[in-house]
């Protein structure tokens, strides 16, 4: 079976006047569009470019590109071709080994519509209650269903190309027709990454926000508005599926939650930055996290609503230390229908 190849259209970039992929980048500075265009042309031509070494793998250029031409996936391809390591080698090795499909996975009573826990144990805690009536047991978890988008952070497009077709096949073999992805990485993989590599989807990926929105409408009679102000923590893989962002507003609307209009939200969002720590060290990560948290505080957020469990792991305690309540989107919905927050910070700090 031939390896999937990135479907990248260089003519779109040639016609692009904004070079938004680089000009809008929050971590690279170009003196003007011309300079950005030159650097981007180098990337396209597989020449050495500062872009390849400076990329922090925040994924945002995937959202910035007005043509959907997948600039970030191209960067990843080029980084790998040139042997550029965006993160230390042992970290990359660990990730490659950790998520290798080896026949260990967990499936529930899988129906045609199923939940994907990806490879994140947090969903064992989160998926409970009325929101998941009728579907909670229809779930898949483990390396065999792991979407592999994480390797975009590590310049390992080859791993994605190698594993993703098998992952898609594994899901199909469960008889799943509709897959509710509880993690943006999965949804982004199945809707953006897979299509960019020409991999057909034998099932329909559904973003869990779409699912939650539907369930909340069904449960609207039991919703008690929360009347709270919340900062939304966008995650890196949300950049792969920006078309789902409106669900945040839609869900917040149903819950009576105000999405604070802060500086670092929507297209200008800052990610949790933990990947920066692993890749570049603490200085940039601490700076990004501080700016992000300062921004939440400044705009009066009572809650910080998380989409991604990895962001939760990185930021939840820091958010709490700033006097803001961290909560996952699923738990926020639960609060509004009278259920309890399930994913919480450990009761006490580190054991001494």
């Amino acid at each position: 079976m031939p390896s999937p190849e990135l479907e990248f259209d260089k003519t779109k970039c040639a016609a692009c006047e904004t070079i938004s992929c680089l000009v809008k980048c929050q971590y690279m500075d170009f003196k003007d569009t011309n300079e950005a265009k030159k650097e981007w042309q180098k990337v396209i031509n597989n020449q050495d470019s500062i872009v390849l070494k400076s990329c922090n793998t925040c994924y945002a250029c995937e959202e910035y590109c007005p043509f959907g031409n997948h600039p970030f996936y191209l960067i990843v391809e080029r980084q790998e071709e040139k042997g550029i390591l965006p993160a230390p080698r042992p970290i990359i090795t660990m990730w490659i080994n950790q998520c290798q499909p080896v026949g260990k996975f967990i499936v529930g009573r899988v129906d045609e519509r199923a939940l994907s826990y990806c490879f994140l144990p947090h969903f064992n805690t989160l998926v409970k209650g009325k929101l998941f009536d009728g579907i909670a047991w229809s779930a898949i978890f483990g390396q065999e269903f792991f979407c592999n988008a994480v390797y975009l952070h590590y310049a390992k497009a080859s791993v994605i190309k190698d594993r993703l077709p098998g992952i898609v096949e594994n899901i199909k073999n469960q008889g799943i027709k509709e897959l509710v992805c509880l993690h943006d990485e999965c949804y982004g993989t199945f809707t953006s990454l897979a299509s960019a590599y020409g991999i057909d989807m034998p099932f329909r990926p559904i973003h869990y926000y779409e699912y939650l929105y539907g369930r909340l409408k069904e449960l609207k009679d039991v919703i008690k508005p929360l009347n709270a102000k919340a900062a939304y923590q966008r995650n890196c893989s949300a950049r792969l599926c920006p078309q789902t962002d409106h669900y945040v507003d839609d869900i917040f609307g149903l819950l009576g939650v105000e999405r604070v209009k802060r500086e670092y939200d929507r297209e200008n969002a800052l990610c949790c930055a933990e990947i920066f720590r692993m890749a570049r060290g603490p200085a940039i990560a601490d700076d990004v996290q501080k700016r992000n948290l300062d921004d939440m505080v400044e705009f009066g957020a009572e809650y910080c609503v998380f989409n991604c469990p990895a962001c939760w792991d990185s930021l939840a305690d820091k958010v709490a230390n700033r006097g803001i309540k961290p909560i996952h989107m699923i738990d926020l919905c639960k609060l509004a229908i009278g259920e309890e927050q399930a994913l919480r910070l450990p009761e006490s700090g580190a054991e001494v």
Partner: protein
């Protein structure tokens, strides 16, 4: 000479009939430990409550020339409390009183049956600003037994072997005399096991109970910061590990450094996991120490040879737990609940060589392996574990594990390591290599202290 029945009666008179047994069940249980050494039954098991009872038992044993083996929790895995010649097993568990916590001089005085779990709990509850060096054995391990084998723990990077933290001993000599060692021999304070006096603690520590029975000990305790965290550095180059350990130690900010290596679960494959534990009384102190650790390894980070893993909370809790439960988990990797390790104490420069040997031996003998190394002192040495798990129901696998361990021990010894808590076979290896005059000295000490050779015979037996 008394009959077995008479000895049983005499023991009963000393400790009370509920605390002596010659029953089949007790003899079966005390005949073995969790490791690979063949079992051997005692004739009696006795549980004394006081130092005076220990004295009476030892006097009886000495008079009747009955072997006597002190027993903590029996967790050494190398058969050190298996009664090789039968006789009396003296289980110290009932001597479990914490007698004193001296906050100002930072030591505790405890009886020999006090466990690490009990002391940890006591300090957390009553003296939360103090802690002791907890080893990664189960919490039922006794502190006295741990120091007798020169155990290591969570504070060993800073303060050396757990036995270095002893601050005084009360010992029943093999002839029954009760003897105090250290400052407590001239003072009511237990702050030093030796200095400024002649350090006699060396007559008992490391001797596996062949020179006397510790009934009480003083143990240094240390400041307990309010917060604790772990940083996880990964490298795929074994040859860098010694320097990484040295650099971490150089910061003087790290309380404990542990290196883990194993092929499974897959996330461990091909990388060495270096855990650096830090503590602080606030976020600021912790953050400062984190930065020091980053700075120490920055050069390797930039070369992409070392990375720091962000640790999710689910993973952090087990890493921070004391003792670590991973050792126990490893015991059941092969199913059937068996594991043992050869744990030489060696210069840290030997890490790459030892790792290669471990991989090679595991492959040769088709065994699952794991290694956990702990830095001792400020880089003065490390404990390197060659660990193998096995199924106790699989005799062939157990035999392969024993052969593999022997091979690793011999190798470590050849490479300049010194075997830790050596089983009787390893003790022979050590003594074969030992300076002959040192052996003569050891023999003289044993003969002087234990003229009838009753104390844990089979161990440190110098021909």
């Amino acid at each position: 000479m008394l009959t077995a029945a008479a000895i049983y009666d005499a023991l009963g008179k000393i400790v009370g009939k509920d605390f002596v047994s010659d029953g089949k069940e007790e003899r079966y249980f005390y005949a073995r430990d969790g490791g690979l050494m063949p079992p051997h039954e005692p004739d009696f098991v006795v549980l004394p409550r006081t130092s005076e009872e220990v004295q009476e038992i030892v006097k009886l044993a000495n008079r009747e020339k009955v072997p006597i083996v002190p027993h903590g929790a029996g967790l050494a895995l190398t058969g050190l409390v298996i009664p090789q010649r039968g006789g009396i097993v003296l289980d110290m568990k009932r001597m479990d009183r914490i007698l004193e916590v001296n906050e100002k001089a930072r030591y505790v005085v405890i009886e020999a049956g006090v466990t690490h779990g009990a002391l940890k709990h006591h300090l957390q509850k009553h003296h939360p600003h103090l802690r002791h060096s907890i080893p990664d054995s189960p919490p039922i391990a006794t502190i006295a037994a741990n120091v007798v084998i020169h155990g290591q723990g969570r504070l060993s990077q800073q303060h050396g072997f757990n036995s270095d933290m002893v601050s005084g001993l009360e010992v029943v000599l093999p002839t029954g005399e009760l003897c105090r060692i250290g400052s407590c021999s001239v003072s009511s304070y237990w702050f030093s096991k030796g200095p400024p006096l002649p350090d006699l603690s060396g007559l008992f520590l490391g001797w596996f109970g062949t020179t006397g029975i510790i009934t009480k000990l003083g143990l240094k305790v240390y400041p307990c910061k309010k917060m604790r965290d772990v940083m996880l550095a990964l490298t795929d180059k074994a040859e860098l590990v010694p320097d990484i350990m040295l650099r971490l130690s150089h910061t003087e900010m790290v309380e404990d450094v542990v290196v883990a290596a194993q092929p499974l679960p897959l996330r461990f494959k091909g990388t060495f996991w270096i855990m650096a534990y830090i503590t602080g009384d606030g976020h600021e102190e912790l953050e400062f120490k984190r930065k020091m650790v980053w700075d120490a390894l920055w050069e390797y980070f930039e070369s992409r040879d070392v990375g720091f893993l962000s640790i999710p909370s689910g993973m952090k809790a087990p890493l921070l737990s004391m003792p670590s439960k991973d050792t126990t988990r490893f015991a059941d990797v092969s199913k059937g609940g068996g594991f043992q390790y050869a744990g030489p104490i060696a210069p840290i420069e030997k890490f790459p060589l030892f790792i290669r040997k471990l991989e090679e031996v595991a492959a040769d003998h088709k065994l699952f392996y794991s290694s956990t190394s702990r830095l001792i002192g400020a880089g003065h040495c490390m404990m390197f574990s060659f660990s193998f798990s096995f199924n106790r129901a699989n005799a062939d696998e157990m035999a392969r594990a024993k052969t593999a361990l022997d091979e690793c021990s011999r190798f470590a010894l050849e490479e300049g390591g010194v075997l830790w808590k050596a089983d009787i076979d390893e003790q022979r290896l050590l003594m074969d290599k030992m300076d002959p005059n040192t052996l003569v000295l050891m023999k003289k000490i044993r003969q002087l202290l234990d003229p009838n050779g009753i104390m844990n015979p089979g161990n440190w037996e110098i021909r």
